[in-house]
Symmetry: C2
Subunit: 437 residues, 2 copies
């Protein structure tokens, strides 16, 4: 089997495999084979694994049979058993193929976190045991998703996106040449292929753009992992565990000295892709007194309820009655909490009513090139208008335009924008197939 032409010289590679890749013994063996291929090609390999397939759900079910209010410390202890199994089995499978492997828990791998059980933050990485294991010719397997609290020395878990973040943090600490994130799709697409069948795979994207894509609802990489990779300059390669095709390279910055391979140039297309998100709801606070401090008071109430606000729109006060409406979006799961907090402060703030709408969708267009291409927003809004789609809210950043629409119009909106910016695979065939990969 020939390796992809990605790593020509001896390199240090961190490879992350998710739970679906190691769901059963056959999956573990398939991952082992892939890891060993790299090792045989002369590379140093660190593998980060998640818990096997349904293990985490089974453990959560067991806990739910015991209690509806498990202490977070004990939940972390329970859940961290999952990676322990998958990583030991993977080490065995690699050994069976004639290569040496050692598995390490999060704490053994030096993943030092704060003490926030269930969503701990990495505060230090001391990978000296991993480095020593590699120096002895081992493939090192590390449990994703878990670490150890510096203060209490208790086991912690990193929460959502935790295993990807483990991989990136280790890659940064070990100064790895690349962090490969294996998944069940073959890369990052210009839009969700389930919504836009003509979406094409992105070959390279800056981590800045990937950050906006992830923040705008693209599920393939967790925001946190991309942030970490960007901050520490770790090149990510998102690819499929079921093929040897190149995936998508997420590159920290154009100045990055890392050269992927001769075939891939760091050309910057104007637009990277279209993301969408159905997980948010819109709250409108009606009849807010149009005097200074009222908007601040509203957002203080929301912040105290621990809700994360995304987009905000304050309507112009047109009624000549000294009142205005303020709308914002927030995750649906935090909706009830935020509404209760607002209602409790209605008299104090003096607004008239609250409206809540979960039937909305958010569409975002991302591209670093829009900085220098002023025509982007014109094309964007004309495409939506031509498709007969009403816009409810708008927010922009330097490299992103986001709009909120009715939920039932979201898919049509995504397709309209994807086509308007020539992202469809048909119109891009020469670019897509250009490098012959």
């Amino acid at each position: 089997m020939s390796l992809p032409p990605v790593l020509p010289a001896k390199q240090l590679v961190v490879q992350k495999f998710g739970g679906s890749s190691v769901a059963d013994a056959a999956g573990v063996k398939r991952v082992a084979k892939r890891v060993v291929d790299y090792h045989e090609a002369g590379h140093e390999v660190v593998v980060v694994v998640s818990a096997m397939g349904d293990t985490t759900d089974e453990l959560l079910d067991l806990a739910a049979e015991i209690t509806d209010s498990a202490p977070a410390r004990e939940m972390d202890m329970l859940l961290s058993a999952g990676e322990r199994m998958s990583m030991a089995l993977l080490a065995m499978a690699i050994n069976k193929l004639g290569h040496k492997a050692q598995s390490f828990t999060g704490s053994q791998a030096g993943m030092i976190t704060d003490g926030t059980h269930g969503k701990a933050r990495i505060i230090d990485v001391d990978p000296h045991r991993i480095r020593t294991s590699l120096d002895k010719g081992n493939i090192a397997i590390v449990a994703g998703f878990q670490g150890m609290s510096r203060e209490s020395q208790d086991i912690t878990t990193l929460g959502r996106g935790g295993s990807d973040t483990t991989a990136v943090a280790l890659a940064a600490a070990l100064e790895a040449d690349v962090c490969e994130i294996y998944t069940d799709v073959d890369g990052v697409y210009t839009a969700d292929p389930r919504v836009v069948p003509s979406a094409r795979k992105i070959e390279t994207i800056s981590s800045e753009e990937m950050l906006e894509l992830a923040a705008s609802g693209a599920k393939i990489l967790h925001l946190r992992c991309v942030e970490y990779a960007r901050r520490f300059g770790v090149p990510l390669h998102v690819r499929s565990s079921f093929s040897h095709n190149e995936g998508t390279w997420v590159l920290p910055s154009p100045e990055d000295k890392f050269t992927i391979s001769e075939g891939v140039a760091l050309e910057q297309p104007i637009i990277s892709g279209v993301a969408h998100d159905r997980s948010e709801a819109k709250v409108t606070v009606v009849g807010v007194p149009d005097i200074p401090g009222k908007a601040a008071a509203i957002f203080q109430v929301i912040a105290k309820a621990n809700s994360n606000i995304d987009m905000i729109v304050q309507n112009v006060s047109t009624f000549g009655r000294g009142k205005t409406d303020i709308s914002f979006t927030l995750p649906i799961v935090e909706g009830a909490n935020a509404l209760n907090a607002l209602k409790a402060s209605q008299d104090e703030i003096g607004f008239e009513d609250i409206e809540y709408n979960a039937e909305i969708g958010k569409l975002s267009l991302i591209g670093a090139g829009m900085r220098s291409h002023p025509g982007v927003s014109a094309t964007f809004f004309k495409a939506l208008s031509d498709a007969g789609i009403n816009i409810d809210m708008i927010s922009t950043s330097e490299i992103r335009i986001s709009v909120v629409t009715r939920a039932d119009l979201l898919d049509a909106a995504v397709r309209a924008i994807h086509t308007a910016f020539d992202l469809d695979v048909d119109t891009q065939a020469t670019v897509y197939g250009g490098t012959g990969r």
Copy 2:
């Protein structure tokens, strides 16, 4: 619910529950209730748990799907996940009952071992995190069966009897007042009740006698745990997790200052009980040259094959041909290995043949009182003779007589000896019921 009258004042109790006690959520909750009862009575409680029910077998099955030669280090990493689950769930269940609990892995609990994966030996116990947790009012839950290698800092498992040994080692290090071993029977019996229905529960037994019982095939406590308890003077209480009845107290020595309760006197019966064992086979090396050094050569061969010899008999050289036969017993599982080693050295040692017989049984009578009662062996051998049972091999210690018989006669032999020494529950009714418990 009233507690048994065992622990009148505030004491430090180590309680060990096996895998069958925490086989499912209901079991975990039942154990939690029992633990909390002790805590509510004002005692400090440390709980040692094994992996849940079939967890270990399931993990072994998974490993077998991957490889037939798993590295021992990785097997330990895999298996140690089992206790992690049971202990976290138990901590949650205790929390649900309104008490604080914290779970600790073997390494967190300070179980320092050598580096022999799969059957590590405890070389140090540093329970300062457990002590701190108790001082904060917690119930401390500790993973049985596992520790950390001092040299490599790798996870180790203690092998057979490991969880009991964890409990005793922690009890010793914490200077606990008692180590309770919970099991599915209500104590140690004078013989296996499945063989001798009239067997009775032993109220107290010295750890010296318990050691001989365990070494002679009694399954209830592992030799290793009893050895540890004896060496460090830890009083054991073997009892049922399904009742609050007193079980069997295993007491380190008559000088031990520990007073169980007023009702139990440290009277020493002549005989403690009868143990039997079907796990051994008999090997006879036929026609060994009757010259010095030949027996030593044979046992060196066996030792090199890592087999543990139990009983040895050298027959008298009666044939006037300068040859003798040497018989010994060893575990059946080590039989093939030992036979191969012997055959390979046949020419060098110069014996004529090897006979192998797995259809044997070993019966042992144990009692510290036999030291001062010379009539014991006479009664013993007469009883076997009256029952028409031929004796194949004999070995004795100060407080034990063991014989090997045909396997199909073993049960009858056990019953004959049990009756001959007045151990049957009918003849002992006054003693058994004497204290009213």
